[in-house]
């Protein structure tokens, strides 16, 4: 066993040396398991949602890939945004995204999430989704067929398996950038109930751009969160 211990095991992401010689094997196993069991929250904002029922049910059967629809953000791994994102909806999407546990993945379906699509000159729709959230991949099309949706999900699975799909860390590491774009749309008093900086500290994901001028602006007016009072009628 003494020989085994001399093999240096360096984690790819953090660069820290780990003591267990099987650590990287476990990582791979965990990633494999993660990629084969995903719960998807489909946030049906626009017409792309119509392609999801055939993709989910027996015709194209997403479940054979291990992907199932899930009803709550707190139990979901994938956030699927199908269609145009109005500014009002974007607020709700950000609230939903921040509630999801890490690791979490965002897929933007349809041309509208890429660049506004046919609503490109509308004052009420956001154009570039990846300015407000870290998007793993886009599935372009107006609307993409279920085959394309499944192809995109398979690509996401491959990325997870090979450890490439980590934009969710970017949200913690560059929170100032995302928050700045959100404040640009929603006004300076924008606040979500999730403490992203606190979470970043907790997970050890603080980056040089986690805090900046926009987070300072947030901290100026941020109101402490209070739990709802439980009442029986």
């Amino acid at each position: 066993m003494s020989d085994l211990k001399q093999i240096p095991v360096v984690a790819k992401e953090t660069g820290k040396e780990r003591t267990n010689p099987l650590a990287n094997v476990f990582d791979e196993l965990i990633r494999f398991a993660q990629a084969r069991s995903m719960f998807m929250l489909h946030y049906c904002t626009g017409c792309g949602a119509i392609e999801l029922p055939p993709a989910m049910t027996s015709r194209f059967d997403m479940e054979r890939l291990g992907i199932q629809p899930m009803v709550t953000p707190r139990q979901a791994d994938i956030l699927l945004i199908t269609g145009y994102v109005s500014i009002k909806t974007l607020k709700r999407i950000i609230l939903t995204y921040e509630q999801m546990p890490s690791p979490k993945y965002v897929i933007g379906i349809c041309s509208c999430t890429v660049n506004g699509g046919m609503y490109w000159q509308s004052y009420a729709t956001a154009k570039k989704l990846n300015e407000y959230l870290p998007v793993d991949l886009y599935i372009a099309g107006c609307m993409p067929r279920p085959e394309a949706v499944i192809e995109g999900l398979r690509l996401l699975m491959d990325n997870i398996k090979s450890g490439k799909s980590e934009p969710w860390k970017d949200y913690y590491q560059r929170y100032d950038y995302y928050l700045g774009n959100q404040q640009h749309l929603f006004g300076d008093d924008w606040q979500t109930p999730t403490d992203i900086i606190g979470e970043a500290e907790h997970f050890g994901l603080m980056g040089p751009e986690t805090e900046g001028e926009h987070t300072r602006l947030l901290q100026q007016h941020q109101q402490p969160l209070e739990p709802h009072k439980m009442r029986l009628k």
């Binding site: 009002k88 509308s122 956001a126 154009k127």
Partner: protein, 185 residues
């Protein structure tokens, strides 16, 4: 066809009022042009005397060159099965008009919507706060002088265009199977 007797009722209503100009557009549609001060009275008569009980919409048109807003009240009768559209024009600057909420309850929604989209204030309407555009602080967006495209250009950024997207797909073993020019022959 509109009932002959009720048609006479309508005519008598219009004769009662001044500044009313009406024309029959089709068997079931009647267009009435009326001065702004006479419109609430006309609606009251239409509802009370001629069974036009359903206000199905209030629409607003921005006539920017004439500097006027046109308000169109569409009222429907279930007894004669016909629609009367009452058109009226108000000045565009500082646009303000009387609410008809006391006559027709649904008017509250339409007036609130028009106030949000065009900035026409309705006096006496119960809810004049924001309706759909709760996140919007700009000018009323349906006005002709609101340039949505210019607003979009300075508010939002655009995705970079990647002209090599097809090459990446072809490298991965995919690509376009039927090219558009093969289909449109």
């Amino acid at each position: 066809m509109m009932d002959q007797e009720l048609d006479r009722t309508l005519v008598s209503i219009f004769n009662e009022m001044e500044k009313v100009d009406y024309q029959q557009k089709s068997p079931r549609r009647l267009r009435v042009d009326v001065a702004p001060e006479a419109l609430p009275g006309l609606l009251e008569l239409l509802k009370g005397k001629a069974s036009y009980v359903h206000l199905s919409a209030i629409s607003c048109v921005d006539w920017i060159e004439e500097e006027e807003f046109e308000l169109v009240y569409h009222v429907w009768s279930y007894e004669v099965n016909s629609l009367v559209s009452a058109h009226t024009r108000i000045p565009r600057e500082g646009a303000c008009y009387l609410s008809v909420y006391d006559l027709y309850k649904p008017a509250g929604f339409f007036e609130r919507d028009i106030y949000e989209m065009y900035g026409v204030y309705f006096e006496g309407s119960p809810h004049m706060e924001k309706f759909i555009l709760t996140e919007w602080n700009g000018p009323p967006p349906m006005l002709k002088d609101f340039d949505a495209e210019a607003y979009v250009q300075d508010t939002f950024n655009w995705q970079d265009y990647q002209p090599d997207w097809l090459k990446d797909l072809e490298e991965a073993g995919g690509g376009v199977e039927i090219r558009p020019e093969d289909v449109r022959r």
